[in-house]
Amino acid sequence: MAKLPGPLEIYPLLPGTNCQDCGEANCMAFATKMAEHTVKLKACTPLFEEAPYAKKLEKLQELVRPPVREVVIGTGEFAASIGGKLVLYRHDLRYSNPTAFFIDIPDNLEADAFAARVKAIEDWTYVYIGTNLRLDGIALRGVSQDPKTFATAAKKLTQLTKWPIMLCSLNPEMLATAANAIADKRPLLYAATLDTWAEVGEIATKHNLPLVAYAPGSLDNLSSLVNTLRALGVQDIVLDPGTVSKTGLGTTVDDFTQIRRSSIIEENELLGYPTLATPIATWADHREGEAPELTKWNEVLTASALIVRYADLVVLHSLDMWTNLPITFLRSNLYTDPVKPVAVEPGVMEFGDVGPDAPVMYTTNFALTYFTVESDIKQAGVDAYLVVVDTEGMSVQSAVAGRKLTADKVAETLEEYKVADKVNHKILISPGMAARISGETEESSGWTVKVGPQDSSGIGKYLQEGKWKEE
């Protein structure tokens, strides 16, 4: 892993005024957090706003520039930051800037369908660990091959959405016309190639837009292309080494891995840019009359492999729940901070109007387990106590297997939070997955243990049946 700067290298380049605008007590505290990558440089607003700091800013940006540069697409609150990667393996630090998911829309779609697809992209969501999983951007494809149609669609798109946009065409004239129309929205241009670098590079520099360098099939070619675009003055570059699925997947994964390894381990600055993968290319193999599910299946696999292997942006077509749930979950999992156990505080939670008759259930403090159980209890609309046992952030099944959830631990938790004082019974409902320890739990706690459902989605039904109260 490349060497990252320490607080003592950062501090001299800060204003040193201890103005606290960044929210930290002083500049040294800010420098320390910068070195830990828990704050971003842009939080130091004086550096950016006050002219005398311009030189310091430039030096600092150079110093803290991650081995993979960060590129911003779009403007305002929906802007997507990609790249900015510091490490090859998530166990070394943690991954920053989760892979952005851009969904395609063809420029020749008729007005209603066009608007409907934009809305469908924006509306795609799923609640997971207390947050809404979402997609990130829209990739306008120049299917029409007509510059005017493409530019009109681009303009139309900016009226329909505030989401970041990617303009996709290998024809420079198409890109020039559309870039002219919506340059103020900071779209990502796709793409400059070995044939079109001069024209497309000029569009990018003219409007100061981020640009994809696309040189499939050869990392030497990709290096030459980037080298040339930099000489043209293009600053924000995104790399596309080409995506092929099926029999080409090994080559594709290998190319992405080599690029990231080269930039982070070997400090190859030339390819220190975010990468872009195009699982949507699987649709090129789709034949009329074929079940689209097969192509979607393949698109999910290609996307998954490249989310794992360092893609900072993926372009997708599928919008189904069954296709996009696995990939949004995968992204969420891999970009979780590996150092922080995903855990909630142990204790006793109350739901609804609890009284002394209310049932008492227990679960573990793994955040995902807890939030799933919480949402199921709320959805069922039942009044209940939920005892949260500290299993060091492990799920019920793993914690039972790993002896982090034991009868003694359950008994201790009941004791510690004085659960017996809250209710007029001593019946504890255990998760179905912890059935194995129910006998021992009765012995060590003195409570009667009833085994609840295997999955917490069954809690509502289980409590309504009322069997837990029976002797």
């Binding site: 311009a54 369908a113 290096s223 030459s224 000489a231 080269s262 030339l270 492999a305 995903v342």
Partner: protein, 396 residues
């Protein structure tokens, strides 16, 4: 008339179509600049102040150096099963591990042995997600037929027979009953078989010891030794020359400790490790990262972690998104197997060698993935499709 203040605050609002026009003929000395410029404008100003670049006339060549790593040790090779000539009764053996590079770093070295799939077979009917059960309903009470099905129809490389009926809470069948089932399955299929215990701390030792004895000569994998139950299993494995799955609970230090203990009885040719698999969305990242760390540690010289890795990938079905009947989430006939497939794919990339799986579509998918990824194919630039212009049927 506008005041100076208004002019300066509106400068960046002009950015866009007009900004270039504004800045084109302006020389800006940054140090003298008194205006409070917002970052975007400042960037523009800097770009304008920079000397003009000499425009390249042709491509400026650069080359890419393959980023090779240095690894000091290879992952242990483990062969499962034994043919008649080797003292067993299997038609073939399978070998896993042997790697000299991080998983799928093809530029460094392709996998020595490609990962394999063991289909799960249970010795009694169990509750299964509907999308899985559909494929097994004919064989749920016949382990031998079950084993035949997964090998002949689903293409499993090996079979794992889970002796769950030995659990005191699930039937409490005896080690001798288990031995009989093992014999039936050995008769039914010709591929190597692996033996899984019930996870009952009282019974696992005696059951696996008996399995080791019955499988004399077969080089089976005894699943599993844990920090709580290992000695009886290790002793039996040594006596009958079997392999042991060293199973821990997402804790790399625990894995090292258990392996150290197993070394007392076993040689490195007799250990496969399993750090526990959690489902996609439900802790998959723990399994992913621990597998990645174990593989790297093994390659970099850690004697206690240089073993092929196994995963109970069927755990993917613990994710409710895999099986919940909810039309809003799409057909569960697809959602379930894609969940198992993506869980497997992530762990494949992390370095897993042996996948214990169930859904036939997921098994097929993983076999395809391994086949697609096992070597680099030269893909010519013109073979990459131009996806920007393809027509994709509407409504898909």
């Amino acid at each position: 008339m506008t005041t100076d203040k208004e002019k300066t605050t509106s400068l960046d609002d002009l950015f866009g179509d007009f900004a270039e026009l504004v800045l084109e003929n302006v020389t800006i000395e940054l140090d003298e600049l008194k205006l409070s410029l917002r970052p975007m404008v400042q960037q523009m100003a800097r770009a304008a102040a920079r000397p003009a670049l000499e425009m390249p006339k042709s491509l400026i060549p650069a080359s890419f150096a393959t980023p090779l790593g240095e690894y000091t040790q290879s992952i242990q090779e483990i062969t499962l099963g034994a043919t008649k000539g080797q003292g067993g009764s299997r038609a073939n053996t399978v070998t896993i591990g042997g790697h000299t590079a991080p998983a799928w770093d093809l530029f460094q070295a392709p996998p020595k042995h490609t990962p394999i799939i063991a289909a799960d077979v249970f010795d009694m009917p169990i509750s299964l997600a509907k999308a899985v059960k559909t494929h097994y309903k004919e064989v749920l009470d016949d382990p031998a037929a079950w084993a035949k099905l997964v090998v002949d129809k689903f293409g499993a490389d090996v079979v794992t027979l889970h002796l769950i009926s030995t659990d005191r809470q699930l039937g409490d069948t005896s080690p001798n009953d288990a031995a009989k089932t093992i014999e039936e399955v050995l008769q039914a299929v010709k591929v190597p078989i692996l033996i899984g215990s019930a996870g009952d701390p009282e019974k696992d030792g005696p059951v696996l010891a008996k399995a080791a004895e019955v499988c004399e000569g077969e080089r089976t994998l005894l699943c599993s030794a844990t920090v709580d139950v290992f000695e009886e299993i290790a002793v039996a494995a040594k006596k009958h020359d079997q392999i042991v799955l060293s199973w821990t609970s997402i804790d790399i230090n625990q894995q090292k400790e258990l392996n150290r203990r197993l070394f007392e009885w076993l040689t490195p040719e007799q250990i496969v490790i399993d750090p526990t698999t959690a489902a996609l969305g439900y802790g998959l990242e723990y399994a992913f990262t621990i597998m990645q760390r174990m593989r790297l540690a093994g390659l970099l010289g850690d004697e206690e972690l240089r073993f092929p890795i196994s995963s109970g990938t069927t755990n993917a079905w613990a994710a409710r998104e895999a099986w919940l009947k909810n039309p809003e989430l799409g057909p569960r006939e697809l959602r379930g197997p894609i969940w198992e497939s993506v869980t497997a794919l992530a762990l494949l990339l992390a370095g897993n060698d042996l996948f214990m799986m169930m859904h036939p579509a997921a098994i097929k998918t993983l076999h395809d993935l391994v086949d697609w990824m096992k070597e680099r194919h030269t893909v010519k630039p013109e073979e990459y499709p131009d996806w920007t212009t393809i027509t994709i049927p509407e409504g898909t």
